[in-house]
Symmetry: C2
Subunit: 515 residues, 2 copies
């Protein structure tokens, strides 16, 4: 069978997608500038620019011509296209998925969602500041109603719940039940591990992270570390923003941001490793396929697996600190003279229950996620009223962490997601952690002892492996299939638990793990 | 007569213009980022983004609907609309002008001009680096042919020369003959003044400007100086770029750039004053009229008058340095201990013939411009062949400056303009200098002794006056009319000569000027 690559409908489809993508990257430039350099007075006009571009993008992605090209190609695609005409098959499959989602959502609903999200985020900021959930409640209610409507409009499979439809936006092909299947044993194991750690009575010298780390030197170090792991500054940048992020403004233009706290080492250092991990994924996508699904990332969960890989599996590993610690001491003369490599490695692996998700360690982080996953499913199913969220949040937090949040700012008001309409998004963070553990184990098997390489500052083999196995395939595989193809096993919580026990056992004097 | 403000055609016209303007500011964001932060790899996709947005903008500005709304409104506008329905009259007048220019230019020519400009600029960079005019010649020939075609297409008045049509793009309503009328006596006076200065044998201590000025402190000072003169950093920024510029990304978002040379004081300091002068004009436009001619600047010449006002009439004045010099000494401790205020003021007013326009002083600058104005008129008229440009450049340069450029890099290859298709642009720089002198004299008359105010660091009265007289009117008046309205006199070269003689006479011991 010949390829459909030269078929007029396919050529037209790709041209159309690339133009839409160029509008998309233009809007990304607007967004990047908004977060990094926009003066306060510019905010209002920036919103108009963004809305105009988003509208143009939406128009192109719901253009009836797109539907016609898709129908033509779907008719012509042979049954074995997924193996013999991969790019065409993937690009048609994903464009169909997006086209259906977009055209099934009434324009009025899209606009209302956008309007309410803007307002709700503003109210959320004020509510969190005042730690007053009652301010936010009417907007949460509105948002939940709209997200239910959106899910109803987009639902095509009667077996999918409304929450499944929302989750599918961020983790295509994944159902809540699939997530639940791994979350249950994960929670059990993490809770046990946390108990052992607490019982050990051991604690690192956390103050070593809170010494004076001058911002200018932190900035130099952040760039060096991103370079070590292979982030290409000819094709990207590192800037500052209040909320760190990674965004692609084109196939060869990936922007990272971080924030510098002169009295807390972790924030810029691990933040940069995290965002640079996302950046390596973006920089590793096939540039020729830019603007089409074959040049895009699989899912938020797979994206997060790449950031967590470099932040935690590399950046918090013993081998990494063997290489990095002497360089850190040089970068901050006299600051760490009384600290040993072991002590520093222990400090960056401090585990303890805390209220705020984004500050959580590798063990408790996933418990934060599961709490949100539980609640948002019940909210969308209509089983939990928005008004009851604070009480339920606190009750379950105490169940999981043994602590009760002192206020809603440190409880159910801490995250921006729900106010922005990002319901179904949270589980992808924990999925990313599990995917990362599975990928790391497979890479370690394929490449020999990764820790030895890290100890010599050699991060290239891992980066090349990730590129070869994951990045260069774009959206060819769905997340679940990718894990099977790369690791030879389905999604599994155990590699993550093994990773944590293996690392934390010597630090906290826990029972050793057996291979 | 009632206003047409509520007329459906006018409402539609304004909505259309504002949407087009939002595309324009979005493209400005792309351009700003390109000059300041874009990583090298991002250049290619940036060109695609810019071309897409420019195409969309062009499409809106040539939309036949626009022509229909204009025709409807022109039919309805009463004869006295220019006085009694000002905004409608101005917006219709200017939109008609642009619509006619845009629709008269064949799309193929627009695209060819854009393509050739991109290529020609790249070749020009290489040609200037190698100082080899022969590399650039074929591209200059192509560009001249295209610009002639463009002028022919856009020509509506049989009395206008092709060069007039090109000039009109940058200085609406101005003809080459009008320019020539003031350039002739200006050249004569400047040449006489330059002769007297050279004959005086006096020279400032120029090395005081070439001492060690650390970049971080220069940056702080640049921001302070921009604040002194009233640039609003809530509605703007100052960044760095190889070629300094000012651009508006929205009605409340004006971006300036400068460049820092640690061994040359003038470059960032006067560069910032210059760009901030442009910025004050942009920030002074009526924000409600944003996106329509009533919210836009009159012409490049008037724009330049605002930058020159702050760079030269304020920033190189005696009063300014009375206020600034002690602050400068504080900003750069020990660097200027052996320098007096008078010496520093003299140094920033050093006058001497040199090869490069952008480094020229206030006296010789205009001679550089007149040389280009002469040549480009003859080129467009077909009287001077592009191949003969180097010889003619050098011959006339020697005539005007008494020096012969040692090579073409320091001669006819020094400016980007012709390669970018900006023919007819140069005279606006000298017009700006003359307008500035006329405005300064009028302001000085209206406000009392400006130099006294500057000496106390009080720049607000001048800024308010410029806003009241010029900025807030948008495009209400054409340049020539604006000068008459504000100064009570037509365009005139004498205020500029008076300004220069008055300032330079005491420095160079020239014959005093009489009021």
């Amino acid at each position: 069978m010949g390829s459909l690559t030269q078929h007029p409908a396919y050529v037209a489809l790709i041209g159309h997608l690339k133009e839409a993508a160029t509008l998309g990257t233009t809007n990304a430039v607007l967004g990047w500038d908004e977060q990094t350099y926009l003066p306060p007075g510019g905010a209002e006009h920036r919103a108009e620019q963004t809305a105009l571009l988003a509208g143009m993008y939406h128009q192109r992605m719901t253009d009836p011509q797109l539907g016609e090209w898709l129908a033509t190609l779907e008719e012509q695609l042979p049954p074995d296209a997924s193996e013999h005409d991969v790019a065409v098959w993937v690009n048609v499959r994903e464009t169909r998925r997006r086209y259906d989602r977009a055209t099934r959502t009434p324009r009025a609903l899209v606009e209302e969602l956008s309007r309410v999200a803007t307002m709700a985020q503003q109210v959320w900021v004020a509510a969190r500041r005042a730690s007053d959930f009652s301010l936010f409640l009417p907007w949460l209610e509105k948002m939940v109603t709209l997200k239910r409507e959106q899910a109803q409009a987009q639902q095509t499979d009667e077996h999918a719940t409304l929450y499944d439809v929302l989750l599918d936006e961020y983790e295509p092909g994944m159902r809540a039940a699939d997530v639940q299947r791994v979350f249950e044993p994960l929670r059990e194991e993490l809770t046990r591990l946390l108990g052992e750690i607490t019982a050990s009575g051991r604690r690192p010298r956390r103050e070593v992270l809170q010494r004076e780390y001058p911002v200018a030197r932190q900035r130099e170090l952040a760039i060096r570390v991103a370079e070590w792991i292979g982030f290409d500054f000819e094709r990207g940048r590192l800037d500052e923003s209040p909320h760190p992020f990674c965004t692609s403004l084109g196939p060869h233009d990936c922007r990272l941001t971080t924030r510098y706290d002169p009295h807390y080492f972790n924030s810029a250092f691990f933040g940069t490793l995290h965002e640079a991990g996302h950046g390596l994924y973006e920089q590793g996508l096939p540039p020729d396929a830019f603007g089409t699904p074959m040049g895009e990332t699989v899912s938020l969960g797979i994206h997060e697996s790449q950031s967590r890989m470099w932040e935690n599996f590399v950046g918090r590993s013993r081998g990494f600190w063997r290489y990095c610690f002497p360089r850190l001491q040089e970068a901050f003369p006299e600051v760490l003279d009384d600290v040993s490599e072991d002590e520093f490695h222990f400090a960056v692996n401090d585990v303890q229950p805390s209220f705020i998700r984004v500050e959580a360690d590798e063990v408790t982080y996933n418990l934060h996620i599961m709490l949100r996953f539980e609640l948002e499913q019940e909210i969308i199913a209509g089983e939990l009223k928005p008004a009851d969220v604070p009480e339920e949040w606190n009750r379950r937090f105490e169940r999981d962490f043994g602590l009760r949040p002192p206020d809603d700012a440190q409880g159910c008001l801490q995250d921006v997601h729900w106010s922005a309409g990002l319901i179904g998004y949270f589980p992808t963070y924990a999925l990313g952690n599990m995917y990362a553990a599975q990928f790391y184990r497979a890479a370690d098997r394929d490449l020999g002892e990764l820790q030895g390489l890290f100890g010599r500052g050699d991060f290239t083999p891992l980066r090349r492996w990730l590129n070869e196995k994951i990045h260069r395939h774009g959206m060819r595989f769905r997340a679940a299939e990718l894990v099977r193809v790369v690791c030879g096993e389905p999604l599994d919580h155990r590699p993550l638990i093994d990773h944590l026990r293996r690392k934390l056992a010597p630090l906290y004097g826990l029972q050793a793990v057996t291979d």
